[in-house]
Symmetry: D3
Subunit: 180 residues, 6 copies
Amino acid sequence: MFVHKIDEDLSLKLIEYRDAQNIFNLINNSRAYLREWLPWLDSTTKLEAQVDYIKASLDGFSKRKSINTVILFQNQIVGIAGYNEINWSNKTVYIGYWLSEEFQGKRIMTRVAKALTNYVFTDLALNKVEIRVATSNIKSRGIPERLGFTNEGCIRQAEWLYDHYVDHVVYGVLANEWSS
Amino acid sequence: MFVHKIDEDLSLKLIEYRDAQNIFNLINNSRAYLREWLPWLDSTTKLEAQVDYIKASLDGFSKRKSINTVILFQNQIVGIAGYNEINWSNKTVYIGYWLSEEFQGKRIMTRVAKALTNYVFTDLALNKVEIRVATSNIKSRGIPERLGFTNEGCIRQAEWLYDHYVDHVVYGVLANEWSS
Amino acid sequence: MFVHKIDEDLSLKLIEYRDAQNIFNLINNSRAYLREWLPWLDSTTKLEAQVDYIKASLDGFSKRKSINTVILFQNQIVGIAGYNEINWSNKTVYIGYWLSEEFQGKRIMTRVAKALTNYVFTDLALNKVEIRVATSNIKSRGIPERLGFTNEGCIRQAEWLYDHYVDHVVYGVLANEWSS
Amino acid sequence: MFVHKIDEDLSLKLIEYRDAQNIFNLINNSRAYLREWLPWLDSTTKLEAQVDYIKASLDGFSKRKSINTVILFQNQIVGIAGYNEINWSNKTVYIGYWLSEEFQGKRIMTRVAKALTNYVFTDLALNKVEIRVATSNIKSRGIPERLGFTNEGCIRQAEWLYDHYVDHVVYGVLANEWSS
Amino acid sequence: MFVHKIDEDLSLKLIEYRDAQNIFNLINNSRAYLREWLPWLDSTTKLEAQVDYIKASLDGFSKRKSINTVILFQNQIVGIAGYNEINWSNKTVYIGYWLSEEFQGKRIMTRVAKALTNYVFTDLALNKVEIRVATSNIKSRGIPERLGFTNEGCIRQAEWLYDHYVDHVVYGVLANEWSS
Amino acid sequence: MFVHKIDEDLSLKLIEYRDAQNIFNLINNSRAYLREWLPWLDSTTKLEAQVDYIKASLDGFSKRKSINTVILFQNQIVGIAGYNEINWSNKTVYIGYWLSEEFQGKRIMTRVAKALTNYVFTDLALNKVEIRVATSNIKSRGIPERLGFTNEGCIRQAEWLYDHYVDHVVYGVLANEWSS
């Protein structure tokens, strides 16, 4: 029901229970593609996993700890994006996202990340946005780089991906650096 | 953040913690006016009551029991509307609403109730919308009547208002009767 | 253990865990009969469903939201009756009930509903009792009618019964109308 | 509402929220008397303590851990009695009780303890009832002794009473010893 | 991680999740032996039961209701001991324990019970330690007896063991009797 | 009760409720000193804040999310150290610590951090330890540097300290780099 419009093609919709089947289908169509960089593909092979995810998302939203949205491109769900972890004391937030394989190449995620960052500074009144990306995930790193985020460091072996660790680059942008 | 647009002037925004002060101010400016028909004016004289209300609203939202929104008129909060009680087994829903005194007379609430009813049938896929109004609240009764709801009965002494009981008219509209 | 005596033959006992098997047997013996007007027959085909129901009943009782009793006729469980939903703010209560097929025709339910209504006004000090019955359930409608309840309206398509909707008649009686 | 009748004069009623004021008054009238053997007099000087106690009692009841009743003598609340701790694995139960000062000397508590013991063996199908009494509380010890309980031991310094410890006598009776 | 050292050979370690497999193996090697006096052998035939037990133990620890430790003999887990139930109002505590079959005969449990009792009086500042043992469990009774506990009574049919009841001897020692 | 011994002078004890007063005194004696780098000094001016902290700590411990210990130097509490956040999926952990002013200069914290790091790799079997320190907190930065941690980046404006933001250096060490 509730939508944050980005431009004519794109908007973010607060995740809802009835999105479960559509998200599940989207994942199924991109499973091999997504598995390269995301750790949860093997634990989401049933629809129930999506229902649990939505339940956890809405619980996080109601407690102001996180906000998860579905990305709507021309009214179709094409991925997930949101604030994974909101720290109200330190006024920082992590942005996380994924996009299905077939919608790559349209600059969708850059526009989404830009809109999410705008919202952090203009509406949530926080001070910093961080994005963490696996070091060798060149495509995903392009997003914070295009948006002018600063590379603040490389956190080694930060994440376990099925059978190996990956390093993370931490990108950050401060409220006083950002001009929407 | 999340908005359901009705028309150029009007939209519904999922209630958020940072709305507390604005809602509280709105209530304070209309306290005597609202108290004629609403039972909660005496228990909401402090800002904390709004925070508790928002917390309960978001909890209800995350459990799919209710949805509360603030009504935005020209980007300003002018009232509250939403689904008070969603019954997924019987596929029915109650709509509730209030509007501050100074924004009366602009057909705001009729447009809001129409949009909420549309959404019930098109997106939530429920079967019936009910609105309960105090029998002598002529202004509020006009809303379901203008929208073509059927008067289904008068529930006597249905609500305690500070020092007296009021009767309720139950209005209802079915999915197969509604043409948005 | 705890019993509310109605007359020589009849009493209401607060539901207990050790009633689970007896209630389950009772339902099994009347399953087709009860299924005509009650929505829960298909989800109570195992004993565990009764244990869950009793657990929910006792939880509702301890929170003052509802009271469920077994109807004892000559010391035998013959049905369930109680207050489904107690609204302490508005001082109203819904009465719900069912009786197994073989104990029909003894005016048991009329006596039970009368006793439950008495108790609402004399002990719980509430203001109104409501009974909602499916419009075409003539036998059940006889109960509030014999007790002098007022027909306050017909709520259309109020309940989903397996494969169709049924309308509900709302009956109500006020404290100042009732003489036990 | 729910009553377990003992004889013409006496019954046990499941504790209810609306008993709070009456129990509180009863305690206030016997405060010095009760304080000799009960540990909770100093923490129950406000009505809210009774409401909390009733809430905890009903919660224990709904979870089958304990049952607290008010003792009604000629329809008046004169004390509290019940099962403090039900152990369903070992099939044992503790009985606890107190009676206000002015109703002493009528054998009320002996009749109550007898009824509670009967109920344990006939309805709850447990195997053993225990009563623990302070060693020097001669009056209270008379109750299990009159009912034929066996003195099973003296647990030294078992309870802290404001400024000193008291020893407890443990009395017990087994199902196969009891003839109601 | 956290260890309470008793002597060169013996220590008590706060139970941890990663002990589950070792405890489970220990039980499996002594199942017939332990089953003579302990009631939980038939409900712990899967590893998950140990995980649940550890979870409950840590929850009890964090709420100050109980403390469960693994007994380490020469750095190997040989049994479980701890405070089953801490009563902060009456300043009493129950000690419970079991030791696998192959480590019997080394006075391990007497040393453990002595250490646990010391700790109750010196650090927890409680007033009394109780140990309850089945009357005919001569070996286990030797422990409180060697430590100078007083036999305070025989609680008849206190515990259900699969197919029969056993009586319990209650042993107790007071702070002012104990000299570590 | 439960202690992890580091050397003759130093050990870590799992935090307990009865430490509340001692920790509170320790903070009070170092309040101005600690306030330079820690954000919680203004919200811990009453003893209750320590009780809440201990409660949260034990809850985190029982859920395996964190472990907080008091640092004992010659049997006296001199600070707090532990694992703030354990990530079992990625096998990483953050170490956090503070030491009161008067015990500075004894290399206490370096020994503590070394012992905590050892334990992560040898017992918890995790893969990485991180320590985050404010960039200009030279003294605290010395600890991971002396222990051979790698500086992995500078997270800008990572923390709000009363009236200004501070940057954080992230130090990390991997299991395969560590030789205790």
